[in-house]
């Protein structure tokens, strides 16, 4: 079973956290910090597996992660999951994000954290893998987005305004902050059919 899915950037700022077991907010933050410390100190060319931190079950659980540009994608899983299988799953996840956001970057995850959650919910539910087929995932995500759009009549105006304002100001962002190469490069890796 998957215990938690964490995405954080190179500085340890959480970009998405999904725990499939209940922890208090404090513990969740500690887990994120601990995981970041464990993962970030590893070199680029070492293996993608390590034992979980003390807070999330210790050596019973494994952390399986991939590092894309500025983001770490970390899956915390127990012994029932296949290590390489999860690596492929991360790849599917990132590729799906890439398709849904068109060249996904860290900012997408910040501004559309709900969308990322929705995509993730189509892949993993309650700690178990729901779907690994990317087309299937995208079909359902798109269908739901379409529904949202059709619903967005007059009542939806404020929400649309929010995103409009957000997008309007987006180009300014890189001026203030030095994000570097933010877009996640999705390498071609073998994954699920």
């Amino acid at each position: 079973m998957i215990k938690a899915i964490l995405i954080f950037n190179n500085h340890g700022k959480p970009r998405l956290s999904k725990f499939y077991e209940h922890y208090s907010e404090d513990t969740e933050q500690q887990i994120i910090r601990e995981t970041f410390h464990l993962v970030s100190k590893r070199d680029e060319n070492v293996c993608n597996f390590l034992e979980g931190g003390m807070l999330i079950g210790g050596s019973e659980n494994k952390l399986i992660y991939r590092h894309y540009a500025t983001l770490y994608f970390v899956f915390c899983v127990d012994s029932s999951e296949s290590e390489l299988g999860i690596l492929d799953l991360i790849q599917v996840f990132v590729e799906t994000l890439d398709k849904c956001f068109e060249n996904v970057c860290e900012l997408d995850l910040i501004f559309h954290v709900d969308k990322v959650h929705n995509i993730l919910a189509e892949m993993v539910m309650g700690g178990m893998v729901l779907e690994t087929n990317m087309n299937e995932i995208i079909t359902h995500v798109d269908a739901q987005n379409k529904m949202e759009k059709s619903e967005a009549g007059i009542a939806g105006a404020p929400a649309r305004a929010v995103s409009a304002v957000k997008n309007m100001n987006l180009p300014e962002m890189p001026r203030n902050i030095n994000i570097g190469d933010i877009s996640i490069k999705v390498p071609n890796l073998p994954s699920f059919k």
Binding site: H22, V46, E83, M125, E148, A161
Partner: protein
């Protein structure tokens, strides 16, 4: 305005200089609170969305729970989804609005929109037959959570879950596989009966995730059922050949290893598994190395076509002068070490009579492969060893992930076959130097299982070097615990020299900032107490440690290492008779610095200072010069006030007595008399509670209800009363208490259940302790160096340990129960899920059946038939032999089904052919002795229902061809004719009693016994289901072929026809049975099939009848 804030908040979050983030967010939250108060649902939803983000950043948003529910209840999907997301992120069991939430979920579950439902779905098993696969998929997954929370639901829901394994939608199938694998992982034995189903899935599914899950499950199942392994060969090999996904490949290899291990440990005859292994291992290696094995006929017999860069390998195939064995070996060699061919071959040459000129053949051009016989006359290596060889390749790979996984897989082999892993110590030690910490940790795990008496010192020495080198404290701590684990495992089994071990422990205390001080301390105590011969040495070491305590307790509060002082003080005090200079140690223990140590250590210091004091007194007893004793007392009196202990009074009193020249040493020593023996862990727990002992019963009269409730507040103000009553009570009992004490002692003496701890105290000498031969002088000045101790391990390795030390075993109460149940965590939710799923459902467990379900049930049933179809040909043969030799067993249908499935040779006839040709092929090359030929890999393991069957006999029968068969069939027919009338009678009886599940079972057994009646030129079979109708009618010819099938509109014996949904599969099944297996089998199988169907459908089919007519 709010929008600006949103934007601004994100702007500022990127600003690293922002100091007042917390303050800023609190204003943000205020804004959100304002927004939540507005009526506009869009604004509210937006606020909730923001809260979700804040929750991720670690802010408690539970105060907004009600608003979240509000948003969840919005009719718009857009907002609903936001609400559900927020709820899933921050709600938990104890959230107070959980009732509202469940209601909302219930409402949304019945929504007409699939996405509404999907987003709300938290799982109700009644939803599992939803028409939309999207919903079914989610519902199936959620079942697991429901099972965890409510284990009773597993049994009723399981049949439906099982159905979903055969769902037409791959997503649903995958979800069901996920759930069942998760369930089965904890209690695999309950799911053995699903093996055929999973097997079918494994051969049909193309979803890699599903395949991985299934293969992992099979890996867990094979140790329970060795026969399963043989079935897996074919599909696994196919997968290994065909897959492009490394993840799937690796899991295949892992399961292959599990299979091979189970085979090698479960089968007396290794040769079959060896052949299998060699056949496989080449494929595996080839795949890992990126070599494409070819698909030609020869490949089936163990030859791999190598790509051009390895073409030199193939030259061996063309060398006809070589015998099969040698050629085969060369393939193995090259498969093992393709890139380091020359350097590695000597290793193999040692074990082979290989006279191949390598250099010559290397220059030969690429030839065509020759057929090679599969069976080898002798196994070259034991199977696990070969597995390890294969893994070595992985570990030596440059890909760090493969390296890690190789080590991981190796640790699995280690558990069962430590010997075969031990030979790769070099590689493992090499991995300790890896830059990757994960890999180092895995290597450490492996080392644990690899130590022996011979190599322990060497390995620990290496580890100590790593301890010095390690930078991170976590890794160093890990090393430390591993060293201690390795040394102390199985009761110090591998330690030959305890002095060395004590030195190692002392050396470890020099680690700064470790949090494992208590671990070292407990080891010191354990060794000193249990290894009597080591005490002199240990005490000396501990005294030095105490003397140098200032080195350890630099930063006492944060430094865990000072824990060892606890052990040191205790050992010095308890075994003070071995101390060379007790005065000095006493002085060390009473230094002012001690006051900075943690309280529990100070306490031990004081107590053991008193013990040392007693020792000093005794040693000075006969001495006329009293200055030493005087000094000691004075020291105690001077320093003890530091601790505020009652020992001070004792010392003062002793000093007074001594001034009066009273001999007190014996009395003081008596305070600490008696040997303290180690007690086994859980000893207390394992003492059975004596009969009649009720710990909850009142010893005295229970206080009356009124007293406890009403008079308590009163008592607070009338203390006088209570004060009076208490002493009075005890006064009365004073004498009686003494009496009772006596009586109790008496009873304890007689009671076998009472642990007599002190009984053995005087007789400790009887514990066999071999004295250390101290012919070798010990060097113990200052802190010892383990390097010195371990110096020249080469010389020590070969000698049987000189320092043989028997270990005092831990004390256990005589009556201890041998149970080890307490190892299991009682809180483990999976324990409750350990439920026998094969038992038929009781009436009250059945789920309500919804009308539209039946059609689906029937559909899945159809697939079920097909699953069994594959097993048919073998059954035909088996039954034939069975009829002659032994009567069929009366096991339950499920079990025999599984046995039957398992006892079959690999399904595909292709592989069988291969095996047969493999057996016959050696005859041509004449290398394999006939002994191996009789045990080809494909011969079924003896199934319980075919014990009487001898493989040879079976083969003989096979070879005697159809002549024999015909004879038997004839004989059967005669029998059938005889019993025909009786048969009819039976059926009518079943007919009339309406067909409950009970009669079904009886029916099955009977049918097996009875041959099928035949009249004239054919026979008809009709099957009726439930209280209702005929499902199908089939006519069979004498030869067993289907002559007529009628599944609709045919009424027999007045039974009504149902809608006919089952007709197609049933007809298929009948046709199959008829064609493949002969008439009788068709009949029996149909019956059996319907029986299982009737059980798995929760009463959808409450019974069945089989009518036989013309």
């Amino acid at each position: 305005m709010a929008l600006k804030i949103v934007k601004g908040s994100i702007d500022r979050m990127f600003d690293k200089n922002l100091q007042d983030l917390a303050k800023y967010i609190s204003t943000c939250i205020d804004e959100i609170k304002q927004e939540l108060k507005q009526d506009n649902i869009a604004v509210k939803a937006n606020a909730v969305c923001k809260l979700t983000y804040l929750q991720m950043l670690g802010y408690d948003v539970s105060w907004a729970a009600f608003n979240i529910v509000e948003v969840m209840s919005s009719s718009k999907f857009t907002y609903k989804r936001i609400g559900y997301l927020a709820a899933s992120q921050c709600f938990h069991e104890s959230t107070d609005v959980i009732m509202l939430t469940t209601n909302q979920i219930r409402k949304d579950l019945s929504s007409p929109n699939q996405y509404d439902t999907g987003v709300a779905l938290t799982g109700l098993s009644c939803f599992m037959s939803h028409t939309k696969p999207y919903i079914r998929k989610k519902a199936v997954l959620i079942m697991y959570k429901v099972f965890l929370k409510y284990p009773e639901s597993l049994r009723p829901a399981f049949p439906r879950l099982k159905e979903k394994l055969e769902d037409p939608d791959p997503g649903v199938q995958s979800a069901a596989v996920n759930v069942i694998c998760e369930l089965a992982r904890r209690n695999p034995k309950n799911y053995l009966s699903l093996a055929p189903l999973f097997f079918k899935l494994m051969t049909s599914s193309t979803n890699n995730w599903v395949l991985i899950k299934i293969i992992k499950l099979f890996g867990a199942l094979t140790p329970l059922e060795p026969r399963l392994g043989k079935k897996l060969i074919e599909p696994l090999t196919n997968l290994i050949h065909s897959t492009s996904a490394m993840s799937l490949l690796y899991e295949c290899v892992n399961t292959v290893i599990a299979v091979l291990i189970s085979l090698s440990s479960g089968m007396p005859n290794h040769s079959a598994s060896i052949q299998m292994f060699i056949y496989w291992s080449d494929r595996l290696t080839a795949r890992f190395l990126g070599i494409r094995p070819c698909d030609c006929q020869e490949c089936m017999r163990g030859i791999i076509k190598f790509p051009p860069r390895l073409s030199h390998v193939l030259c061996f195939h063309n060398n006809e002068s070589e015998t099969g064995v040698e050629r085969f070996t060369v393939i193995i060699i090259t498969a093992f070490f393709p890139f380091s061919l020359l350097s590695s071959i000597p290793l193999f040459l040692l074990s082979l009579p290989l006279s191949v000129s390598l250099s010559l053949s290397l220059s030969l051009p690429l030839p065509l492969p020759l057929p090679l016989p599969l069976p080898l006359p002798l196994p070259l290596f034991p199977v696990p060893q070969l597995c390890v060889q294969k893994l070595r390749i992985l570990i030596e790979d440059s890909d760090q992930n493969l390296k890690y996984l190789g080590l991981l897989a190796m640790s699995k082999i280690l558990k069962t076959h430590p010997k075969s892993v031990q030979s790769h110590k070099d590689l493992i030690l090499q991995c300790l130097d890896d830059k990757d910490e994960s890999i180092r940790l895995r290597a450490l795990d492996l080392l644990y299982g690899m130590v022996s008496k011979k190599n322990l010192m060497e390995i620990v020495k290496k580890l100590m070097l790593h301890v010095d080198k390690a930078e991170g404290t976590t890794y160093r701590d890990e090393l430390l615990t591993k060293i201690i684990d390795i040394c102390s495992q199985s009761n110090y089994q591998y330690i030959t020299n305890f002095e060395w071990y004590i030195s190692i422990l002392v050396e470890l205390t020099r680690l700064e900032g470790t949090r494992h001080g208590h671990l070292i301390a407990s080891q010191m105590l354990d060794v000193a107490i249990r290894v009597k011969a080591i005490r002199v040495f240990a005490v000396a070491q501990m005294a030095t440690l105490l003397d140098n305590a200032h080195l350890l307790s630099g930063n006492t509060q944060r430094n865990g290492i000072c824990e060892v002082l606890y052990a040191a003080a205790w050992i010095c005090g308890e075994f003070s008779e071995h101390l060379e200079n007790p005065m000095q140690t006493l002085e060390a223990m009473l230094r002012p610095k001690v006051a900075t140590l943690p309280g529990h250590i100070q306490a031990v210091y004081v107590q053991n200072a008193a013990k040392l004091f007693a020792t000093v007194l005794r040693s000075q007893e006969g001495n006329t010069d009293r200055t030493t004793a005087q000094e000691t007392s004075q020291l105690m009196i001077d320093r003890l006030p530091l601790f505020a202990s009652c020992i001070l009074q004792l010392v003062k009193y002793i000093q007074k007595l001594r001034q009066k020249d009273v001999e007190v040493a014996d009395e003081v020593n008596a305070l600490f008399a008696g040997e303290l023996n180690p007690v086994a862990p859980k000893a207390q727990k394992k003492v059975p509670v004596p009969e009649g002992l009720d710990l909850d019963a009142w010893i005295n009269e229970p206080p009356s209800e009124s007293e406890s409730e009403d008079e308590k507040p009163k008592a607070m103000f009338t203390r006088e009363e209570t004060k009076h009553s208490r002493p009075r009570h005890t006064e009365v009992d004073e004498k009686e208490l003494a009496k009772r004490r006596e009586a109790r002692k008496q009873e304890q003496a007689n009671n076998p259940f009472y642990i007599k701890v002190y009984q053995e105290a005087p007789g400790v000498e009887h514990i066999p302790v071999v004295q250390i031969d101290l012919s070798v002088p010990l060097k113990v000045p200052g802190l010892p160096m383990s390097d010195q101790m371990g110096s020249g391990p080469e010389s020590e390795e070969d000698i049987t340990p000189a320092h043989m030390v028997d270990i005092v075993t831990e004390e256990m109460p005589e009556n201890a129960l041998p149970s080890d149940d307490d190892d299991k965590d009682p809180n483990d939710p999976h324990k409750a899920l350990d439920i026998d799923l094969d038992r038929p459902l009781a009436d009250n467990e059945k789920l309500p059946v919804r009308s539209h379900r039946s059609s689906e049930a029937l559909k899945t049933a159809a697939e079920h038939v097909e699953a069994e179809v594959t097993a048919a040909p073998q059954e035909a043969k088996k039954k034939r032999t069975n009829e002659v030799v032994a009567p069929p067993p009366s096991t339950t249908a499920e079990v025999s089904d599984l046995d039957f499935w398992l006892s079959n040779a690999p399904v595909s006839s292709k592989s069988q052919e291969a095996a047969v040709t493999a057996v016959t092929a050696p005859a041509a090359t004449a290398t394999a002795p006939p002994a191996t030929a009789t045990a080809p890999p494909a011969v079924p393991g003896s199934a319980p229902d075919s014990e009487a069957e001898d493989p040879k006999e079976a083969e003989a029968e096979e070879s005697k061809s159809s002549k024999h068969k015909k004879k038997k069939q004839k004989k059967e027919k005669e029998e059938k004719d005889k019993k025909k009338k009786k048969k009819h009678h039976h059926h009518h009886r079943h007919h009339s009693d309406g067909g409950g599940a009970e009669s079904v079972q009886n029916g099955t057994v009977e049918e097996e016994e009875e041959p099928l009646p035949v009249r004239g030129g054919g026979v008809g079979v009709s099957v009726c289901v439930g209280g209702g109708g005929v499902v199908g009618v089939w006519g069979f010819g004498d030869d067993g072929c289907l002559r007529h099938s009628h599944h609709l509109g045919c009424v027999s014996n007045g039974w009504q026809l149902p809608c006919g949904v089952m007709s197609q599969p049933c007809q298929k099944a009948a046709m199959f049975w008829a064609n493949q297996s002969g008439l009788r089998l068709a009949f029996k199988a149909t019956v059996q099939y319907l029986y299982t169907l009737s059980r798995s459908q929760n009463g959808a089919l409450q019974g069945y009848h089989v009518l036989v007519f013309r």
